[in-house]
Each structure stands twice: as structure tokens, then as C-alpha cells.
Amino acid sequence: MSDASTFSSIDALQSALSAHSYVADRPLATAVYLALKLGKPLLLEGEAGVGKTEIAKVLARLLDTRLIRLQCYEGLDVATAVYEWNYPRQMLYLRAAESGGGTKEQALHDIFGPDFLLKRPLLQALEVSENGRPAVLLVDELDRADDEFEAFLLEVLSDFQVTIPEIGTIAAAQPPVAILTSNRTREIHDALKRRCLYHWIDYPSIDKEIEIVNTRMPGVGERLSQQVVTFVHELRQMDLYKLPGIAETLDWVSALTALDRTALDPATVDDTLGALLKYQDDIAAVRKRGVQALLRG
């Protein structure tokens, strides 16, 4: 296994990623490489299901370190994302100290020590993992969090440190590898973008996607993967509300494999459309257009 400094070139990183079953194109490999070299967070945007989250997981395996994932949602606050004091424990300790005859000052000092601190993902990410390597921090679906959260994320990502009033400032000995993802349901604030490198992940080309399917699901026959990917690319040309991503392609392939199919036929496609399309309107649109016509391409 390797740490961040081992990758001497973009090529080296690209082949290391593909050794871990992640097919990254040159632009993405460049962005990740620079994020590692410069120690800057990488903001990945793109449609759902193009492999934004996956790259963080693969990086953690590649760098042999912990993956710390923070799933964003509206209302995510400091207590859930950074740290919280263990209040019940503090209360109990106070009472115990009192009855045990300790001084109040000592007890007060104790309860705001590290033992009573509950570390949440952003704080955990500042610590190196057991083998001394910085963690990979995945802040997932940042667009779902609100402005307030972005504000303190900004604070953490600027200096990789967190200030806890009762303890002081906790700084990362080695900054974590930070990957931020957004489905772009809204714009991320410029101040936060300014701290990051940026990369937009597009849908892959047909060849690339076939390569991805073959890498991720080695048992699948060439004919099926070719047909599936071609069909999905046809769908992506259509006027659909939610275009299928790579994740959906892979889901579909597993579904077809589970059904022991080695090639596509209209009836099978029709039965399994639900693995690809998640809106009833879209399924209706595809049926209207005619599965057979789409299969012919």
C-alpha cells in the first residue's frame, strides 16, 4: 500500500486507481493527483451515480487509511458534525466528585477534558489513523446541507483545525485527504469553492463505461455489457427527468445477471427498467418510445 507521496505522476495514480477497480479518466486523475499533492480539498460535482462517492472509498483503500464519511442533510449541526460534550456523563461525574469530596474546581476542570468529548466525523478526520496516515474525509452531498453548515465546514477546511472553547484549538498533524461531493441541486457557496480544487465528473463515453462494467463485474459477458451500455447511452440522449448514472448501469447489470441473461431482449428490458429509471414518467416515456426501437439504437 502506498501513501500520498508515493504517486510520482498522474499516470502512477491512474493505474493505481484502476488496480482498485476504479476507472478514472485523465482529467479526474489529474484533479485527484493535485488534491493529494497540494493538500487541498477536492470538490466533485456531477450527476448522481457517476462515481463521486466511490472515488473517496477507493482512495481510502489505496492509501491504506480510514475513510471518514459525513453524510450531509439540512440542519446538520456542530454537535453532529464536529463534536459534542457527553453531558450525561459530565453530570454524573460532577455528582460523584461532589459526594467523593473532591473540589469543585478540579471536577470542573476534569469534565471538560478529552474523556468527555464525543468526536464527530470532522474532528475524527483531523487525527491520523493507526498506521500514522492522514484519513480520507468524505463530505457527501454537500448541496443537501445548509448555509450554516457550509460556514463551519469552511472553517475546518481552511486550516484543518477546530476550536473547542473549553479545550482550545485542535489542529491536524497531517491534513486529511478531503473529498467533497455535490449533486448540484444548488450552488455551493463561493467562499467554500475557493478553498477547493474543482472537478466536474461527466457521464463516461461508451468505451469507458464498458470498461467500467467489465472492471467492476468481471463475470459479465462482453455481449451483455456492450448491449447494456449502448442502451443506457441511448437513454441518456432522451429527455428524461433523471438520467441513469453508472451506478444504475451496474445495478442493471447485476439484475440481469441475477436473471441469468446473457443478452438483452425487449421483454427483459421492459421487466427490469426499474433498475435504471426511478421516475414513473421516465419509464412511461421509454415505453412510449418503444424498447425495441431503443435496442436497435
Partner: protein, 387 residues
Amino acid sequence: MVSMHPQYSSHHLLDHLLAFGHLLRQFGVAIDPGQMLDLLRALDHVAIGQREDVHLTCRSVLVRRREDLPVFDEAWEFFWAVQRQGAPGGMALPEGPSKELKIPRRLQRHLDRPADEDRQREEQGDVEIQLSFSHSEQLRRKDFAHFTADELDEARALIAQLEPRVALRRIRRFVPGRGRRVDARRTLRHTLRSGGEVTELLRRQRKLKQRPLVVLCDISGSMDRYSRILIQFVHVISAGLRDVETFVFGTRLTRITRMLEHNDIDEAVDAVGAAVTDWGGGTRIGQAIKDFNFVWGRRVLGRGAVVLLISDGWDRGEPTLLGAEMARLQRTSYRLIWLNPLLGMPGYEPLTRGMQAALPHVDDFLPVHNLHSLEQLGAKLAETLRR
């Protein structure tokens, strides 16, 4: 391709980068000095001779928005094409049209596009739409369509004085208060003050936040008498609230949120006028709403938004499309309010095919033809939006 960079020493590289940064700024890609410094650091790690790697590196560091990616790539090509022709390291854009240094047309429209400024609005506490005009009842009740130029000016002045107020929704964030949940942090603090004895459980409650407001305004020919004054109304509303997105449509949808950020109403309206090409033309409401649903719906309706659709319902498009898209719009918004100026006309019945298709999917159907109806709209917004 191979002999792209004839004299590629690091000295020249710096000159080139600065010149290229300058060029990008002229095309409206916001770049700050920090990024240029990052770029210099980044280039230490890539092989300078590899044209594609240098390109991708610059792209990763200098671009922060998807919209800027194509501009960046075009500018990159253009820049090196100019360099190949032997222009000196520091490059200025050609002043007039020049045969050799012709700016590609695709780039030209980005020239001097204003770089996006941070949209940092002051955190607003309780906002209120205080919609009461103390003016003569007659003016308040008069249909905008019958206003004289003077009255129009007067109405504009009145609208400019509006104080927006919008309702709040409960979000998953807590503030001290009288809710059911115990605020452990504050309770502990309080306890310490009273010598370790729990004397009182302090509580917290959900924080209230303003709902986002999305305005879709019809600017086709039949709305002409209303749309300008209503845009002003929207301008006032957006100035007072935190989260307002505004779009206008005739035959196509245009987002005018940024343009309405001009403080001066006349400048704002001018900017809108310059950006909108289909002012006073036909209407395809269904198509416009479809465009909105596709491109913007998920981005601006995520947080329980209230949607104001301002239109007279004269639609040249397909009613079934309008119906289907209205249904989707209603499902994805918190409340869909259709404002129709014709509703103020005595005896008006929403009988057009478009209106018939759309009405089942509308939460409120209200008039907007005079100052009085704007007042009522303010009250309506304030009331519906508060949970």
C-alpha cells in the same frame, strides 16, 4: 500539437500563466490571486512538457463552476493559438477586429461577462411584507392596465416602499426556547453556575427559517400591461428576502435572479430587458414550466419553496403538456400560487384550455391587477408560509 510551446522555460511559463489568467478574467471567469499561487504550486508536480497535463492542471485549479469549463477550454485553445503566432508573452486582447487574432465567436459572448459576485446577503431576522399602501382607495383598486403614465410612476414609488415579509418554516436546527427538548449544553452550564445542582431543565426548540420563494413571470405580449410593474414588485420582494429565485418566460425561460440584484430598480429592469429576448412575444407556458422543472426544479425547490406563477394563462402550447408539468411543479413545491391579472376583471372565467389544464394543480388562484391585490398577496404569503 507537439511544438505547441516553443520556449517553455519556467520564466516564460509565469508570464504565460499571468497573461492567461488575465484573459480568463476578461471572459468572466472569476479568478483570484490565491488560485494563481495554487497553480504555480500545482505545476511543480506535473511534467511541464506534457501539454495535456498542464491544461488539466490549470483547469482543476482555475475553474470552480461547471459553466466555466467550456469557456476555459475555448480560452485555452485561443490563448495558445495566439502564442503560436508569436505574440509577446504578455498578451492583451486585440482592440479592434483583427484578422490574425480573431476571437472565436463562442468566446466572444463571454467577453466582459460580469464575474459572478458573491451573493452574500445580510442574515435577516424576521422579515415582513408590510403591504399597505396608505393611498387613495381609488388608485388602490384601479387595474394596472388602465393606469396613466403618472399613476404608473406613483404606483412604482409605492411598490418601492414595500417591506417584504415572508413566512418561516421550522428547520432541523435548534435555538434556545420553550420546546419539548432539553438543551443539555445550556442545562449543564446553568447547573455549574448554581453549584452542581440541577435546578431547571433548559429547553430548546426548532429554529424558524424563511421559505424560499420562486417567481415565474410571464412576459408575453398579452401580459405586457402587467409584467413590467410586476417585475418591479418582484424586485422589491427579492431585495427584502434571503432566498428568492426569479425567472421570466415567453417562448423560453430566462433566469433573472442575478439581474434583480441591482439595488436600483431602473438598472435592474434595464438589465432584465437586455437579457430577455422574447419580451412581448408569444407564450408557451407548458414548455417554459417544463424547462424550469428540468433545469432548475431540483436546484431551487429543494427546501419547501413557495412558487408564484404570474400569467394570464394564454398559452399557445399543448394543454396536456401544461397540465403534466403543472402537476410536477405542484408536487415538488410547498405551495403553488397562480397569480392571474385577468382575475380582477369582472366576469372573467378561467376558460382557456391552458387555464383549464393548469387549474387542478394550483393551490391558490389569485388576482394581481392592482395595488390592492398586491396587498392581499403580501398577507397571503405571510400567512401561508408560516407553519
